[in-house]
């Protein structure tokens, strides 16, 4: 199939799927089948595009000229390809998981849930393949709006409050800072096209570059740089599949992906390296990385702990980008994939625990590992990958990020990366350790989901569709370890 056509298809496919989901809303089985088929077709189209890119193709398509000089333009490039692969591939697994989770919990408004999910994925594809900053911004905003109903899904006061913070911070930063930065860039450079080497050289006074960079970096609220990170913990009121795919993969990765895009294709790493405009960002990102890890250690709620862990991990990528070296960029890009794989595993495990036992606090989960060994094994693998131990994928991205730091000679940053990894150990491993080594609280577990079953020593795993997906992604962490080289090969053109 013609690659340019395929490109438009990746955007439209989830939307068409959403229409069919709306039409089949009355029959859940058909509706879920539509979701799975859509996800499968999407992954197939993205994979076809990947083959085209690896063969050297550069598919592009202009959808519509929104205003003179501002087209809605799609352009495949390696970084976006990677993001699209991650989001579309994990959508399949996450859809399986959604079915298990949403049914297992008897959630309301499931049709709305699946529709919004599909629209969010379509927006993510738009972000991944955006050919200019204008297009990226448009899909960035549609992603925010389409995920709002998912965050507010439960409709409780807590959900409403969380969703308000979510929308307020993401819209506030994007309209308040990012849009200004984009218009400024447009006026200064006369173009918003993503160009290898950047578009700002000689177009803007070097002393103003740090300000423009700050407008971009804080304007990309989805990257959760402190102090604009509060939306991510707030979004945890959403059902876990949302937290798993959107707030560990699609939305947050859209944020750091945008950061990488801006630094690589708008500023250009050479320009940043020469002017030192991103020096301050190293400090902010390092602070976020460490502070969020420390906050994570204090959280007893499992999803909140994972959320702060995500904030910390996102700053790995921002930090890598701020170093403005090729290794830093490669490591950051790779971390998009490896962290996605690890973190989605952790979230799906947290959801599985909730479905099976309705427990949300880590202190309640003593001894649970013996009842849910598969879930906990997957959690362990995901944790180790995020900590960065071989043979798991996380090691490679940390390796490259640290190399980037060494390359610039800022040894302090290397130390920050290492300290943060230790902190990862400190807040992730106890979850597993408590599950396996602490005795279960006696007598009967006061759980709702398992209330019907008498307390036995046997397995009390969540439904198959809740347990299988995290096991798959845990396996993915191992597989990605062996194929990291291929990913790096895909990415290399962006820094050459």
């Amino acid at each position: 199939m013609n690659p340019s056509f395929l490109l438009a298809v990746t955007l439209l496919l989830p939307l068409v799927g959403a229409v069919f989901m709306a039409l089949t809303g009355g029959r859940p089985n058909v509706r879920e089948a539509v979701t799975l088929v859509t996800a499968g077709l999407l992954a197939a189209s993205v994979f076809a595009l990947l083959k085209d890119v690896l063969a050297g193709g550069q598919a592009a398509a202009t959808l519509v000229e929104v205003a003179p000089g501002l087209p809605l333009h799609l352009q495949v490039e390696p970084l976006g390809m990677l993001f699209a692969c991650v989001a579309s591939g994990l959508w399949i697994i996450n859809s399986l998981y959604s079915i298990g989770y949403m049914r297992g919990n008897g959630e309301q408004n499931q049709t709305r849930f699946y529709i919004c999910f599909a629209i969010a994925i379509s927006s993510s594809m738009g972000i991944a393949f955006a050919g200019n900053m204008f297009t990226l911004f448009i899909f960035y905003e549609t992603l925010t709006l389409s995920t709002y109903p998912l965050v507010a899904h439960k409709g409780t006061d807590e959900a409403k409050r969380g969703a308000r913070v979510y929308l307020g911070l993401l819209m506030g930063t994007s309209i308040g800072f990012q849009m200004v930065a984009i218009i400024w860039t447009w006026i200064a450079a006369g173009t918003l096209d993503f160009t290898v080497g950047g578009i700002l050289r000689d177009k803007i006074d070097p002393t103003l570059l740090p300000i423009l960079l700050a407008l971009y970096m804080f304007g990309i609220g989805k990257a959760a740089l402190m102090p604009f990170h509060r939306w991510l913990p707030s979004a945890m009121v959403a059902p876990t599949p949302v937290s798993a795919l959107l707030h560990a993969v699609a939305v947050v990765k859209a944020g750091v992906f945008t950061v990488l895009k801006v630094i690589v294709y708008i500023f250009g790493i050479d320009l940043l390296a020469e002017t030192g405009a991103s020096q301050w960002l190293i400090g902010v990102a390092a602070f976020t990385m460490l502070a969020a890890s420390l906050v994570a250690m204090t959280k007893d709620n499992l999803k909140a702990r994972l959320a702060y862990s995500t904030i910390s991990q996102l700053s790995y990528i921002v930090l890598g980008a701020a170093l403005a070296t090729s290794f830093g960029i490669l490591g950051g890009a790779l971390h998009i994939a490896t962290h996605a794989m690890g973190k989605i595993t952790l979230f799906m495990c947290a959801g599985a625990i909730y479905v099976a036992t309705h427990k949300t606090e880590i202190s309640q989960m003593d001894g649970l590992g013996r009842k849910m060994p598969f879930t906990y094994a997957a959690f362990l693998v995901g944790s180790l990958s995020i900590i960065g131990l071989p043979p798991l994928a996380g090691v490679w991205s940390k390796w490259y990020l640290a190399m980037g730091a060494v390359e610039t000679g800022v040894w302090m940053v290397v130390a920050f990366y290492m300290i943060s990894s230790l902190l990862n150990v400190a807040y992730l491993i106890p979850v597993v350790a408590r599950g396996f080594f602490r005795p279960s609280p006696n007598p009967v577990p006061q759980s709702v989901g398992a209330a019907a079953a008498p307390a036995k020593d046997g397995l009390e795993e969540a439904p198959l569709l809740c347990v299988l997906p995290p096991c798959l992604t845990a396996a993915g962490c191992v597989i990605l370890f062996f194929y990291a080289d291929e990913v790096i090969d895909l990415l290399r053109p962006i820094v050459s």
Binding site: I138, A159, V180, I183, I187
Partner: protein
């Protein structure tokens, strides 16, 4: 219709654009019966829309059209002049009329006593004729005449809401007093101009007035006209008539007036500021920077904050209109091609947003009978199509990408940054962020709250949903592909600043 007849009519389109609705009004009055009047008024509205589209097309291809009314050449007779600027305003006015009319039947039946239907449609046709007349005429005094036709008929449109709520009468009276003050100021200004130049033709004025930049009488005329039009277009702090008028008018009246009447006043201000006075320095040029600009900024922030605290959603949208008019005046106050482009663009875009929003509210009025925050509770489920339309309109108001609101904001901010006016860009952004709050209050009430116990309502009828959605889709359509509207707005802006249109 055969070819020769059609081509015989086309040269007279500028006259027909006004004459058709104007003559239709008395006929409508004679028809008496409500539904007959409605059918007739709908046909007339569509005809007016078709004519305005033809005019716009003709202007964009062949340039300015000058039409001598009754064959009397300009200085003696009244001249109609159509250029890109007013052609687009004509399209807005007649287009909104054409969208509102099919919708009106059910809404009017529900909101206005049957005995008044014929009169209501008659007043509507007069209002339409007046608005089109103000826009198309090239004669300063004729502007005043049509302005009065518009105003008098819109007082009637507002007071027709008295069947629902008696406060419509005080609202209309208040509107009448302030509207008359505005029109009087305007005509005094025109009189002063006539005194010093001896002409009322706008093109002639534009040739003579700029030479009199230091003339005290011209300064006074300028002040009277700016204040008069400021009142008519509800420029803060002269906006006090607007919230009540919009709140208590019948739904169709509000939708039509909100989307058209203030826009026409903005157009008149544009025409007089940049074509007649064309200030380049001194008192008049400074007015832009030191009077209009600050007032626009205050309107954008203060009215938005006022909107946040409203309980009645019609009133909320009315305050939002005051804020949005601030955006337009802001673009005017820049005085640059970029600024005027943004202002004209927003003129068009805002008509689409407010039209869609007020029509959606009318659907809610019909089914629920209550357009307060309580009235919309739980409607996301009970009236999904109406609420979806409302939310889309609300997103457009905030300026979310892929809606017309985004295009407006983009150009307004670009115009500000282009001149290096950073603080203004900050105010624009702050105001859009505040808009999120009031839109989201409604979204949360509709989607996240349960409907009041025992209330069962159905979705609005198709005859109302279709026009609403036509405007909603226009919001999205012109938001995704704004090349055409931006092009027209830029042509108009360049024409305005070029002195002669």
């Amino acid at each position: 219709m055969t070819g020769p007849t059609l081509s015989g009519i086309i040269p007279h389109l500028p006259a027909l654009q006004v004459v058709v609705p104007l003559l239709a009004a008395p006929i409508c009055f004679l028809l008496r019966r409500g539904s007959v009047c409605w059918g007739f008024a709908t046909l007339v509205s569509w005809a007016a829309f078709a004519m305005s589209l033809m005019l716009l097309e003709a202007v964009l291809t062949d340039g300015t059209i000058r039409y001598a009314m009754g064959g009397w050449i300009a200085p003696w007779g009244i001249e109609y002049v159509v250029d890109a600027t007013n052609a687009i305003v004509l399209v807005i006015v007649s287009g909104i009329g054409a969208a509102v009319m099919p919708y009106a039947r059910r809404s009017v039946m529900a909101e206005i006593p049957a005995s008044q239907h014929g009169l209501y449609y008659t007043a509507y046709l007069l209002c339409l004729a007046g608005l089109l007349g103000v826009t198309i005429t090239g004669d300063a005094f004729n502007v005043f005449v049509f302005l009065e036709i518009t105003s008098l008929s819109s007082y009637i449109l507002v007071s027709a809401g008295a069947g629902m709520d008696r406060r419509a009468l005080t609202a209309a009276y208040n509107y009448l007093v302030l509207g008359t003050v505005g029109a009087t100021f305007f005509v005094i200004g025109v009189g002063l101009l006539y005194m010093v130049t001896g002409t009322l033709n706008i093109i002639d004025l534009s040739e003579r007035v700029p030479a009199l930049q230091d003339n005290r009488t011209v300064h006074v005329a300028f002040a009277f006209i700016v204040v008069g039009m400021g009142l008519k277009l509800a420029l803060f702090p002269l906006h006090t008539w607007l919230p009540n008028a919009y709140t208590y008018a019948p739904s169709t009246g509000t939708a039509f007036l909100a989307a058209t009447s203030t826009k026409v006043s903005v157009y008149v201000l544009l025409r007089f500021l940049f074509v007649v006075f064309a200030p380049s320095y001194g008192f008049m040029a400074l007015t832009l920077d030191y009077v209009l600009l600050p007032l626009a900024l205050i309107a954008m922030v203060a009215a938005t904050i006022a909107a946040i605290y409203q309980y009645n959603i019609k009133r909320l949208l009315a305050y939002s209109s005051v804020a949005q008019l601030g955006y337009m005046v802001l673009g005017i106050a820049y005085g640059s091609v970029e600024g005027l482009t943004a202002a004209i663009l927003h003129l068009f875009n805002h008509a689409l947003m407010k039209g869609a929003l007020f029509l959606a509210l009318g659907c809610i009025m019909l089914r629920v009978g209550d357009v307060t925050m309580r009235g919309v509770q739980g409607l996301g489920r009970q009236m999904p199509w109406t609420m979806a339309a409302f939310v889309t309109g609300g997103l457009s108001l905030i300026g979310v990408p892929l809606t017309v609101g985004f295009i407006s904001k983009w150009y307004l901010i670009t115009a500000a940054l282009d001149d290096g006016r950073w603080p203004i860009a900050v105010v624009i952004l702050a105001s859009s962020l505040l808009a999120i709050i009031y839109v989201w209050k409604i979204v949360e009430a509709a989607y996240l709250k349960e409907p009041p116990a025992g209330r069962v309502v159905r979705e609005a009828p198709l005859s109302m949903l279709v026009p609403t959605w036509v405007l909603v889709l226009a919001n999205i359509g012109f938001g995704i592909s704004a090349e055409y509207t931006v092009g027209v707005a830029r042509t108009a802006a360049i024409g305005l600043l070029g002195g002669t249109p």
